[in-house]
């Protein structure tokens, strides 16, 4: 888009093209986060209602109460702007925005379909994990600035918990990166095209296990039950957002649901093939052919729906867990992280490494996509247009080895 706009501008004003493109991307994404939060809060109500033998909202906006969240949002906007007397005003006001910004920034690097991404970064995985980790900062600020003991407890719990869970979470996301040989989320998804057996979750037993570790850690790092200690309503009244009301409180919620979607999206891309369906239907229909723009666009659209479906499934799964399980205690949360998740992630990391080294082509199902070709393409794109030769200084890289063997 920026390239298209550049044509209309004189050279010294061409930066405006990038500004405009960035604004459009940001606008689309922020609507996705806000609209997504509306949809997910509605979904959570319906899901929890169904789980608990209730109906959930049924009246606002027609039969299924799908406008309930919007109505609640309106109510929250009209509420009085309250701040406790002893609160640190600036930090108190800032905290929800910090949380929300962190959650929102994660979306910048999240590809929704082939090339449909706010900013295609070659360190997208790293960027997302890092930025989502900042969300805890807003929570700690909120707890500290509220001048309430319960809030402080919530903030301290959150700090301890989320910072600990970053460790196994980081180890989990490294495994698909290791298999793919890149941190670019678009490339990682492209590699999993074809049948569902190409998805990294089915790559080897270690990745299958590590997906569940990832999901556990992701649930913990976005503060969802059974790890929702920071807002444990039966212990800490409402935890870090005890003193928040009205719009600020709802912004915390938007951040929470935004993060849930983001970590589910990350899981979908890293383990479940991103926008690629379980069967290469789009391939058969010729929708992945980049030389036919309209077909490619349509294919991308279907891919986005596919990706969205996977994300919503992940979020729904988190809801299901939330409404089923009791909450863990803080020491048990830390035990789960330090004694189970971290060692399991470490072992699986080593296992996946060895597997990729010794069985690069998989055990039972031969891979239908050649990693090498995509990797080379990525290299071409990222570095220089001439280097077709696989990098020779990388003898341990299975992808490179495989490519070399094939070329022989």
């Amino acid at each position: 888009m920026a390239e298209y706009l550049k044509g209309f501008l004189s050279p010294e004003w061409q930066f405006l093209a990038y500004v405009a493109a960035a604004l459009v991307h940001a606008f689309l994404l922020i609507n996705l986060v806000a609209g997504g939060a509306l949809a997910f809060i509605w979904l959570e109500r319906k899901v929890s209602g169904r789980i608990q033998d209730r109906l959930g909202p049924t009246r606002v906006g027609g039969k299924f109460g799908w406008l309930q969240t919007l109505a609640d949002g309106l109510k929250l906007i009209t509420k009085e702007d309250l701040m406790p007397e002893g609160a640190d005003g600036m930090l108190f006001r800032m905290a929800p925005y910090v949380s929300f910004c962190a959650s929102f920034c994660g979306y910048l690097a999240l590809p929704f379909a082939d090339g449909w991404v706010g900013a295609r970064l070659n360190v997208a995985v790293f960027f997302m994990v890092a930025v989502l980790g900042i969300e805890v900062f807003g929570v700690i600020l909120a707890g500290y600035a509220s001048a309430s003991k319960w809030s402080l407890f919530g903030a301290m719990r959150e700090a301890a918990q989320v910072v600990s869970y970053e460790v196994p979470l980081g180890m989990c996301v490294v495994v698909p990166v290791l298999i793919a040989g890149t941190m670019d989320l678009v490339t990682i998804s492209q590699m999993q095209a074809g049948w569902f057996s190409n998805w990294f979750v089915f790559h080897d037993p270690f990745t299958f296990v590590i997906f569940w570790v990832y999901f556990t850690c992701a649930t913990a790092s976005v503060n969802r039950a059974p790890f929702d200690l920071a807002e444990a309503e039966s212990e800490l009244v409402a935890g870090f957002h005890t003193e928040y009301s009205g719009l600020r409180w709802s912004i915390f919620f938007m951040a929470e649901y935004g993060s849930m979607f983001a970590v589910s999206g990350l899981a979908a891309i890293l383990f479940f093939g991103g926008w690629n369906g379980p069967i290469p239907l789009a391939d058969w229909l010729g929708l992945t052919d980049a030389s036919r723009p309209l077909a490619h666009y349509f294919g991308n659209f279907l891919g986005m729906l596919n990706f969205m479906f996977k994300c919503v499934f992940g979020v729904t799964f988190m809801m299901w867990v939330r409404w089923t399980l009791p909450r863990l205690r803080i020491d048990q949360v830390m035990t789960t992280c330090l004694k189970y998740c971290t060692p399991i992630a470490a072992v699986m990391f080593v296992g996946a490494t060895l597997w990729t080294y010794f069985l690069p082509g998989g055990l039972f199902i031969p891979r239908q996509t050649r990693y090498g070709s995509i990797r080379e393409g990525w290299h071409l794109e990222a570095q220089q247009p001439t280097a077709v030769e696989p990098p020779a200084e990388d003898p341990l890289n299975p992808v490179a080895r495989r490519t070399r063997a094939e070329s022989r």
């Binding site: 929890s48 789980i51 608990q52 033998d53 209730r54 003991k149 319960w150 407890f153 301290m156 719990r157 039950a225 059974p226 929702d228 200690l229 444990a232 309503e233 039966s234 212990e235 800490l236 009244v237 409404w323 089923t324 399980l325 009791p326 909450r327 863990l328 205690r329 803080i330 020491d331 048990q332």
Partner: protein, 401 residues
């Protein structure tokens, strides 16, 4: 070799943690009403818990000195508002003891039926609310779903869903409506398979066991010292249930009923594999055992209700002979304890010969059960405080009266 700090003040200023006093309640989601707990905490660790009560005091006992015993029945409803029938029964039996009233057989079975049904409802709330204390919401609503059906049954019987005033001095206010017994029986048939759901969601759930096993261990000696009764006492392994060990006037209600007092034993595994096994991490007298006693008592009460239905339908005679509203009381005093869902509920009446008692007094089981809180909560984590208080299953209306 020991390491030494050059300046001991470093510890004082760098590592020192402060104690913090935190008010849990009276407006707190998990203090079961208006209990106020003052926690002395050091980080997440609670060093001392002081319960403060009195936020729901309504001078019910003083009011009892101005009303006739039958007029006071509605006030007993509001004591343990989750088991109003049991409260009615306790007071009715006490007054009957003072009057020397002999109850017809049919009224006895009717009372057993109603009271045990209310015990199920009460324990269901206790179970659901305990899940809520531990952070799971769904079992609470499942429990209420079943309780609603019991309340529907009670509504048919007496028109009220919470404050029944149904059992009264001399029997009950009305007979069971026609067709009610069949409804009751079919409800029990419905409830039986559902109990397994609760066991799956709570009793044998790994997180639930982790949260409750070896938490708030109440030794049998301490339980007796503090006057704990009911499931709290039996969860600690003390074999005492007034339905079997109580006064003649009360136990004769249960004459001929087959039931076994549910009491937890160390390393006790129920023979019947219908129930979940006792997890190895539990200790006798911990929160898990108290919860488990309630769950088993629900099963037991279902059995008792079934028996009571049979006996009631076979019994002859009136359903009761309610005494006059202003029946003159003989001079003297009477005290009766009954086994309410939360423990031994005692009522005391002193009469000087008029229709209005000179003194009416209630001995609340929740009050004594609550008094162990500070012992159980010493050194636990903040998250354990709701777990412990919830496992005692207190009702503030009964504590404050």
């Amino acid at each position: 070799m020991t390491t030494q700090l050059d300046d001991p003040r470093i510890i004082e200023f760098d590592v020192r943690t402060d104690e913090m006093l935190v008010n849990m309640g009276p407006q707190h989601p998990s203090t079961h009403g208006v209990l106020r707990l003052v926690l002395r905490t050091d980080g997440e660790v609670v060093s001392e818990v002081t319960p403060h009560i009195g936020y729901l005091h309504r001078c019910a006992e003083k009011i009892g000195e101005n009303l006739t015993p039958r007029q006071w029945i509605p006030y007993t409803d509001r004591m343990d508002y989750l088991a109003g029938m049991n409260m009615n029964l306790g007071w009715a039996l006490t007054v009957e003891k003072l009057l020397g009233f002999e109850l017809p057989e049919k009224a006895r079975h009717l009372r057993v039926l109603i009271v045990e049904l209310n015990r199920i409802a009460s324990h269901l709330v206790g179970m659901g609310a305990y899940g809520l204390d531990l952070g799971t919401f769904s079992p609470f609503l499942y429990a209420f779903r079943e309780r609603e059906k019991i309340l529907d049954l009670f509504e048919e019987v007496c028109g009220a869903r919470l404050t029944y005033s149904y059992i009264t001095v001399g029997g009950a206010t009305a007979d069971l409506p026609p067709g009610w017994l069949q409804k009751c029986e079919s409800f029990i048939d419905q409830l039986e398979p559902v109990i397994d759901e609760y066991h799956a969601l709570l009793t044998s759930n790994a997180i639930f066991v982790r949260r409750t096993a070896n938490i708030g261990v109440l030794s049998p000696e301490m339980a007796i010292d503090y006057g704990c009764t009911g499931p709290v006492l039996r969860g600690s392994g003390v074999d005492r249930d007034l339905r079997r060990d109580g006064e003649q006037r009360y136990t004769e209600m249960y004459d001929g009923y087959a039931f076994e007092v549910i009491v937890q034993k160390d390393g006790h595994y129920p023979k019947d594999h219908k129930y979940p096994k006792v997890p190895a991490s539990t200790v006798l007298g911990d929160c898990w055992h108290r919860f488990y006693v309630r769950m088993l008592e629900v099963m037991q009460s279902m059995d008792l209700v079934r028996q009571a239905i049979d006996r009631y339908s076979m019994a002859t005679g009136p359903f009761g002979e309610p005494v006059k509203l202003n029946e003159k009381l003989p001079k003297g005093e009477a005290y009766m304890e009954t086994e309410a869902p939360r423990g031994q509920m005692g009522f005391y009446i002193v009469s000087t010969g008029s229709a209005i008692p000179w003194r009416a007094r209630a001995r609340s089981s929740s009050f004594c059960n609550l008094s162990v809180t500070h012992e159980l909560c010493r050194g636990c984590l903040i998250a354990d405080v709701p777990a412990i208080v919830g496992s005692l299953d207190i009702v503030m209306g009964e504590i404050d009266r």
